[in-house]
């Protein structure tokens, strides 16, 4: 074995991956040490575990309850769709703003990019349910609070990610249009959107899957849906209903996943 010429005797001064491994393991072990004294299970834990697992074998499949489950699932889907519609209203113009593709003036572009980024970063940092709690304080208990709680942070995320997609298209087609005298709008419509469109749609569908999960827990502020039914069933210790509801949630997520894969396949072929 001989080293490449010019590299003889040169060793990396600092093993970056080794350092990272040590850092991550150290952080994990330190965190573990901080909770090491805590007891994990409580006195009733064992019995509750048996109740929970035992009822897994006999989920509630009565017709009346299945109708409730179906209605709750539809409501959760409804919240997710409505929330995503708000997210797109915020996110698509936001993507144009944070990618700076709509202007050629350097100063305007830098300003809009910086302003957009910092505003969206703040909106995004706050979790959907924290938004829900805040909006509850402002709007009262209305479905609008739930829809906006999904729409605002998701809109900010969609803006950032779609904006990056718009920026990351191959540079030649936009440059060619620009040379031919196209306006930024024309470049957006005839180069950037066709190049990035399918990818962007794919991301929106992935976000929709997340929105379904977020909508499922809007019960936390008192709105309906699958989470609301789960909370009721847990409060009544009807574990067999909890399992049916969880199965419904998993089914909805899997269906959304399949449909989005189908739509994406139709869009790119």
């Amino acid at each position: 074995m001989s080293a490449a010429p010019g590299l003889v005797g040169v060793r990396p001064r600092f093993n970056r991956r080794g350092a990272l491994t040590a850092l991550l393991a150290g952080a994990f072990l330190a965190s573990l040490a901080m909770v090491a004294g805590d007891e994990l299970t409580h006195s009733g834990g064992g019995a509750a575990a048996w109740d929970l697992l035992g009822s897994l074998l006999r989920p509630d499949l009565s017709r009346a309850f299945l109708a409730t489950v179906a209605e709750a699932s539809l409501l959760t889907l409804g919240y997710a769709v409505a929330g995503m519609s708000v997210a797109l209203v915020i996110g698509v113009p936001g993507a144009f703003l944070v990618s700076g593709v709509l202007t050629r003036r350097r100063v305007v572009r830098a300003g809009s990019v910086a302003a957009g980024r910092s505003v969206f970063a703040t909106l995004r940092a706050i979790h959907e349910l924290v938004w829900a709690l805040l909006l509850l304080s402002i709007l009262g208990l209305t479905p609008l609070a739930g829809v906006l709680a999904i729409g605002i942070p998701y809109g900010a995320t969609v803006a950032r990610v779609l904006g990056e997609r718009l920026q990351d298209v191959p540079p030649a087609p936009p440059a060619a249009l620009e040379t031919a005298g196209a306006s930024p709008w024309q470049i957006l419509c005839y180069a950037r959107l066709p190049l990035a469109g399918a990818d962007m749609a794919g991301y929106v569908f992935y976000r929709f899957e997340c929105a379904v999960r977020a909508a499922a827990v809007l019960s936390f502020i008192g709105l309906g849906g699958i989470g609301y039914r789960i909370e009721i069933a847990l409060a009544d210790l009807r574990f067999e209903q909890v399992w049916t509801l969880l199965a419904a949630l998993v089914t909805v997520i899997v269906i959304v996943d399949r449909v989005s894969a189908m739509v994406r396949a139709r869009m790119v072929v």
Partner: protein, 295 residues
């Protein structure tokens, strides 16, 4: 950019070189379908949940009012964010939240590392399947199923279930976060393995390596950097959610936020929100810096 690639992989949408522009017809159909769905969804939600939506002017008034309360306008008491004692308390809670998130990410990472080989098509039913076809297929279906269920159930619902079994606290919250994240990491990890360059693996097999050796010397070294990158990226998502899980498992910033909100201690709420956003930003920066090390 790195973030874009990560998000793309998470959306299972690594840029496809063969992607072509959609036809105009397909786009029109899609747009019409989306429009009908959106209108139906709004109608259904409002019909089911009551449509007492406040008017726009009212919303503006209430927002201004709410912002004023958060800032402590017209409040005689010293606002919470001007008291150093309150900062110390909230700082301690923030530390709990960080510990919860690190534990969750660590547990999910270890869990994913232990299971992703069984969730990868190529190692169970594809090219590198075990001699016993049935066993490979069974392992794939079971582990994939576990990942799908773990991922489909939101952290908050895991927390609601876990508090029946586990003493409320940091550890319970970490478990709830880890369960959901195991599902996400499992899916991402399996996709990473399936996307690996098969050449080196074939080389190992041709030179007589057994399956475990292919895994240890071929799959793991190639997949690990990408997995660590994903884990760090997920840490950002976990820290956001750890506040929400804290509502249920009585730990960290989340629980205090819930208490202060219900007691209408608005300036305390403002302080927690401020520390929360700062925490998320700090973790974003730390994760970005660490991801650079992983490359």
């Amino acid at each position: 950019m790195d973030d874009v690639r990560l998000e793309a992989a998470q959306a299972r949408m690594l840029p496809d070189a063969t992607a072509r522009t959609p036809t105009r017809r397909a786009t029109l159909h899609l747009a019409a379908g989306v429009l009908v769905t959106v209108v139906a969804a709004w109608w259904f939600v409002l019909a089911q949940e009551g449509s007492d939506v406040p008017a726009a002017g009212q919303v503006l008034d209430r927002t201004v009012d709410f912002a004023g309360r958060l800032l402590g306008v017209g409040d005689e008491a010293t606002p919470a964010y001007a008291q150093s004692a309150k900062w110390a308390v909230v700082g301690r809670l923030a530390l709990d939240t960080v510990v919860m998130s690190v534990l969750a990410a660590g547990m999910a990472g270890l869990g994913a590392l232990a299971t992703i080989a069984f969730a990868a098509r190529s190692l169970t039913i594809g090219e590198f399947a075990p001699a016993n076809r049935l066993l490979g297929r069974a392992a794939y279906l079971v582990v994939r199923g576990v990942h799908v269920v773990a991922r489909s159930v939101p952290e908050l619902v895991w927390a609601l279930l876990l508090v029946f079994l586990v003493r409320p606290g940091v550890l319970a919250g970490a478990l709830a976060l880890a369960l959901h994240d195991l599902g996400v990491m499992g899916r991402l990890g399996a996709d990473v393995i399936d996307g690996l360059d098969r050449g080196p693996l074939r080389g190992l097999r041709a030179s007589g390596a057994r399956r475990l050796e292919i895994l240890a010397y071929g799959v793991l070294p190639a997949a690990l950097p990408q997995l660590v990158t994903f884990l760090l990226y997920r840490w950002e998502v976990i820290i956001r959610a750890s506040v929400v899980v804290g509502f249920i498992t009585a730990a960290g910033l989340g629980f205090q936020l819930r208490l202060d909100l219900s007691a209408r201690r608005w300036t305390d709420v403002a302080l927690i929100l401020l520390v929360y956003v700062l925490l998320v930003w700090t973790v974003d920066l730390a994760s970005t810096a660490l991801r650079r090390l992983a490359r």
